[in-house]
């Protein structure tokens, strides 16, 4: 007999679930989905393959939606009421990173927003949100968008990420001109004869693309991409080590409802007009941090030894005074050594500052360093 209240909610499957299993992936629960953490070759090999060739990631668990209004400015202003990025001045086909902020200026989620490149779709924004936040994000949008803006949750769309230096040449064989797209732009096009939306973006620090396609067609696209010798399937384990080396924030680690964009050092994503005009939740705090600086900030940490410092590790001064906490930490396969990110008090956050990481009771020397740990290789226009 099972108690209804203790019955675990079954993990959801992406349309590629069976394929991951048949490829020999090790599946784990992540944000309510049964997802591949690694395939047979393992995280190290998958990570290094992505940096050298092209890795294919199933990110269909992420949330995709469309905001549709009568024209670009109307829909952009509606979204700007919830996020601090300049959406009004997005050009057709341009993509921007932003965050849903709460009234205290804390990050509820980080998102990617793309203005449709198609003049016939003027007034359409595509928004991609984190899997673990999508239900609350969509409820947040529903509750706050004015009536004349329609929210369409794209439940039946899958999402693939193709990342790595050979991603562009591979994708161009299926999507003509993909290799000439600029970083952070998107376009609706055909993959062979299949309608897709592709953007030149990703979260590995490498050049690459995200491919949004109907769930019914993603299996075909996945197979055609895997058929290229340059492409291998990559799990969530390497996705995490790639983004850590790239110094990119992950919601639930570097970002949470108490952390502001300034603390997370993603204030570059708040454009000048929004800093001056405000008009988004938490503007008071953002405005104060703009002039005074935040009390704490995200830094890169390079341990001197070989031992990784994991999330939750205490960061202290050389006198043993606690100044912060590691938010993500592990082993960087490309770096061939440990690296970490953490929040530290601003007074102790200077690049080059020496600190201790308290790993299993031992004070492990580390240096605060500039990020990324591995240089980005985005395709800038």
């Amino acid at each position: 007999m099972s108690e209804p209240e203790t019955t675990p909610i079954p993990l959801r499957h992406t349309p590629l679930h069976d394929r991951h299993v048949s490829l020999g992936a090790r599946m784990v629960g992540f944000a309510g989905y049964d997802m591949p953490v690694q395939y047979k070759e393992g995280i190290l090999a998958e990570h290094l393959w992505t940096r050298a060739h092209a890795g294919l990631f199933d990110v269909s668990h992420m949330g995709q939606c469309f905001l549709i209004g009568p024209d670009h400015e109307t829909v952009a202003r509606a979204l700007e009421a919830l996020v601090p990025a300049d959406i009004v001045n997005l050009l057709p086909g341009q993509q921007r990173y932003s965050q849903f902020l709460n009234a205290e200026g804390g990050v509820m989620d980080d998102i990617m927003v793309t203005r449709s490149a198609d003049p016939a779709e003027d007034g359409t924004l595509m928004v991609v949100v984190n899997a673990g936040c999508k239900d609350t994000d969509f409820a947040h949008l529903k509750a706050h968008l004015p009536n004349h803006i329609k929210l369409i949750i794209a439940e039946h769309r899958a999402l693939l990420a193709l990342q790595g230096p050979e991603a562009a040449s591979v994708l161009a064989k299926h999507c003509a001109g993909a290799d000439s797209m600029a970083f952070m732009t998107g376009v609706s096009t055909l993959f062979d004869a299949i309608p897709v939306h592709i953007s030149r973006s990703g979260y590995s620090g490498e050049d690459g693309f995200e491919i949004s396609v109907s769930a019914a067609k993603v299996v075909v696209i996945n197979e055609r991409l895997l058929a290229h010798p340059e492409v291998k399937p990559i799990g969530l384990g390497a996705r995490d080590s790639l983004r850590l080396e790239a110094g990119l924030c992950l919601y639930g680690h570097e970002l949470d409802p108490t952390t502001s964009p300034f603390e997370a050092q993603i204030q570059w994503s708040i454009q000048k007009r929004r800093r001056q005009e405000g008009g988004f939740p938490g503007f008071e705090r953002i405005s104060r941090e703009l002039t005074e600086g935040p009390h704490r900030k995200r830094v890169g940490l390079l341990p001197e030894g070989r031992a990784p410092a994991r999330e939750g590790t205490e960061i202290t001064t050389l006198d043993g005074v606690k100044i912060g906490t590691v938010t993500s930490g592990g082993f960087g396969p490309t770096l061939n050594g440990p690296c970490a990110m953490g929040n530290v008090e601003t007074a102790h956050s200077a690049i080059g500052n020496k600190v201790y990481l308290m790993v299993r009771g031992n004070a492990m020397p580390a240096t605060i360093v500039a990020m990324p740990f591995v240089p980005h290789r985005f395709h800038r226009a």
Binding site: I43, G237, D240, R306, A307, P308, F331, P338, R360
Partner: protein, 125 residues
């Protein structure tokens, strides 16, 4: 080569007289994935059965390795520091962790034989 015994936590010990060689099983390394760091105790340290003997870190996470039996650390496999991947490649051979001088040989009877361990692995899958 002496007899090898296993724990439910997937450590093995190879019995060589009153000295035992301790490491993690092939199953354990396959579950951990790529090992990138190992922290070993110092020679001379006295470990009680069940006490943390070492820490092994994969790309994803850190895991403790417990002393399967009580004893004094005679030697550690210092080569693992530079080549932690040896644990993945040859866990029950060159990927050993520590050698212990047994303090209570009767503790050996509580461990699984190789055949029992295989049955145990089948039972947890």
């Amino acid at each position: 080569m002496g007899e090898t015994k296993y724990t439910e936590d997937h450590e093995y010990i190879r019995i060589e007289g009153d000295v035992v060689v301790v490491g993690i099983s092939d199953y354990a390394q396959s579950q951990l994935g790529d090992v990138v760091f190992v922290e070993l105790p110092k020679a001379g340290k006295k470990l009680a059965k069940g006490e943390e003997a070492a820490v092994v870190e994969s790309v994803k996470a850190a895991s403790e390795v417990y002393a399967p039996v009580s004893g004094e650390v005679l030697e550690v496999n210092a080569a693992l520091e530079a080549q932690p991947g040896t644990i993945n490649e040859d866990p029950e051979g060159t990927g050993w962790f520590i050698k212990l001088k047994l303090s209570d040989a009767s503790e050996l009877s509580g461990l699984m034989s190789e055949a029992d361990y295989k049955t145990y692995l089948a039972s947890i899958h």
